[in-house]
């Protein structure tokens, strides 16, 4: 069974969102997503300063098997990316909600965070998808 931390928000495309104390949000892919992809071997994360729109493909995760897009959960500006992933993509497999974070975004409108799924809703989605 995949881990679904209770304090995070989630998207239907299996990204997670954590609100940080400075108003930024941190984004990564869920335990379910990393498990489905398998061993990750290449990760491409967006440059800081990039403006992103909700649902826009902003990053790529590639496993031995396949490449997959990662979508921005909300509108805003990328302020930071996890540089460690360039040489250690396996951090996402090992610690998807921690050391495997992908990017930090300054939300254009923090109110939209409330529209993202909570943990119980995401768990229900995983069950409906058979995972």
């Amino acid at each position: 069974m995949s881990k679904v931390p209770a304090d995070l928000k989630y998207t239907r495309t299996h990204e997670w969102v954590r609100t940080l104390s400075d108003g930024l949000v941190e984004v990564g892919i869920t335990d379910h997503a990393q498990h489905a992809l398998g061993d990750l071997v290449f990760v491409e994360v967006p440059e800081p300063g990039r403006q992103v729109a909700p649902g826009e493909p902003v990053a790529v995760v590639e496993s031995v098997k396949a490449a997959s897009d990662v979508y921005s959960p909300l509108a805003g500006e990328v302020t930071e990316r996890n540089e460690q992933l360039a040489t250690a993509p396996e951090l996402i497999n090992q610690d998807p909600f921690g050391a495997g974070w992908m990017m930090r975004i300054k939300p254009a409108n923090p109110a939209v965070l409330a529209e993202l799924m909570g943990a119980p809703e995401y768990e229900a989605l995983l069950q409906a998808e058979g995972g």
Binding site: G38, D39, F42, E44, E62, K65, A66, A67
Partner: protein
């Protein structure tokens, strides 16, 4: 639901992730594809390849039949037990399938063909066998396990009788024979030493569990694919098919034009191509930039033209992406590949990339 091998329930118990592979529900990985890959390069692993199709060909005229059917020369099979890798071609030189044929007796040869091509292969073989009075029997009663890696032969031999172990360990590369009631061959698809074992389906679960108990890792088809690509071995359907011929598929070495008197199917077409010179060739690529090469990505050869990746992956041994690609004959050492809209630099290399645990090509830091 797809077809199941005799080991299907065991794969489920072992927690394998199962995927459809040519109509079969097969394990793609058990725990980690990269972990399984390294187990085979460094120690030993076992694969279920029971979905492959074992065909026994019997009759007094099996040898002349094979001389007609396959592009490599069965005349190379002089000693009993010797195996031969070959393509089976259509009249225009396109590859119907690649296969291994074992010389068991003068009136009995055994062929192993791919799972995904089973029906068309059997139909083709039967169609041509009739004229030679050769019987064609699919051995669906047999399971097939591949035990591969530097420690594979020694570990497997522990499960045989003392005489059987001695006989198995004495097998030369690309030889197979019946030992302790199992057909054991020193062949494989990983670039490592090891055996492929064809055995009664009822024995297969026990053998797998005994191998696991000796520390031989359960390995899925995911690792099998990265291992074969590192070894520079073609995959039917990716790197060649009925629309491509062996001379543009890195398989010229498997086509025996000598003796000139042997009239195998596809010979005339291949001779034409050989005379004119093949327009394309299959090469190895090593990605110099960061990223992952995948099949069907476009290869740009500056000043020459374009080609296409036929198989691409991340090489766990080289920690770099590698590929096989079909490119124009005049392609030199440098190409670019369109990877998701970006042009990345790749170097043309001669496969294999990795053999017997060791890199065969130099990799510079990215």
């Amino acid at each position: 639901m797809g077809r199941h091998t005799p080991l299907f329930s065991l794969h489920q118990e072992l927690g394998a992730r199962l995927v459809d592979f040519g109509g079969w529900d097969m394990p793609v990985q058990y725990s980690s594809q990269i972990g399984e890959h390294h187990a085979v390069r460094r120690a030993s692993g076992v694969f279920d390849v029971s979905h492959m199709c074992v065909v026994d060909l019997r009759g007094d005229r099996v040898r002349p039949f094979l001389e007609h059917l396959i592009a490599n020369d069965p005349g190379k099979l002089r000693e009993r037990g010797k195996a031969l890798y070959s393509c089976m071609l259509n009249e225009s030189g396109g590859v119907i399938d690649d296969l291994i044929v074992y010389f068991i007796a003068e009136d009995w040869f055994r062929m192993v063909v791919n799972a995904g091509t089973r029906d068309k292969d059997l139909a083709w073989i039967r169609e041509h066998a009739t004229a030679f009075g050769v019987s064609v029997e699919e051995r669906a009663d047999l399971a097939m396990l591949a035990i591969q890696g530097p420690e594979a032969r020694a570990k497997f031999a522990k499960l045989l009788t003392p005489a059987g172990a001695q006989a198995a360990l004495a097998l030369g590369t690309f030889y197979g024979r019946d030992i302790d009631g199992w057909f054991i061959a020193r062949t494989g698809y990983t670039g490592e030493d090891g055996f492929e074992v064809m055995l009664p389906a009822r024995d297969s679960v026990r053998l797998w569990q005994d191998l696991n108990a000796l520390g031989v890792a359960s390995c899925g088809l995911g690792a099998r694919d990265t291992l074969r690509l590192e070894a520079g071995m073609n995959l039917y359907g990716n790197d060649m098919d009925e629309t491509t011929h062996p001379l543009e598929s890195g398989l010229a070495w498997t086509v025996a034009f000598e003796p000139a008197s042997r009239n195998f199917i596809g010979r005339r077409a291949l001779e034409d191509i050989r005379r004119k010179g093949s327009e394309r060739k299959l090469v190895g690529l090593l990605l110099e930039d960061r990223g992952v090469l995948r099949s069907h990505q476009k290869v740009i050869v500056p000043g020459v033209g374009e080609g296409e990746i036929t198989s691409g992956t991340f090489s766990p041994t080289l920690e770099r992406s590698i590929a096989l690609a079909r490119v124009p004959q005049a392609t030199g050492e440098k190409v670019q590949v369109d990877v998701r809209g970006k042009l990345l630099n790749a170097r043309v290399v001669r496969p294999p990339f990795v053999r017997l645990g060791k890199p065969c090509i130099q990799v510079h830091a990215a």
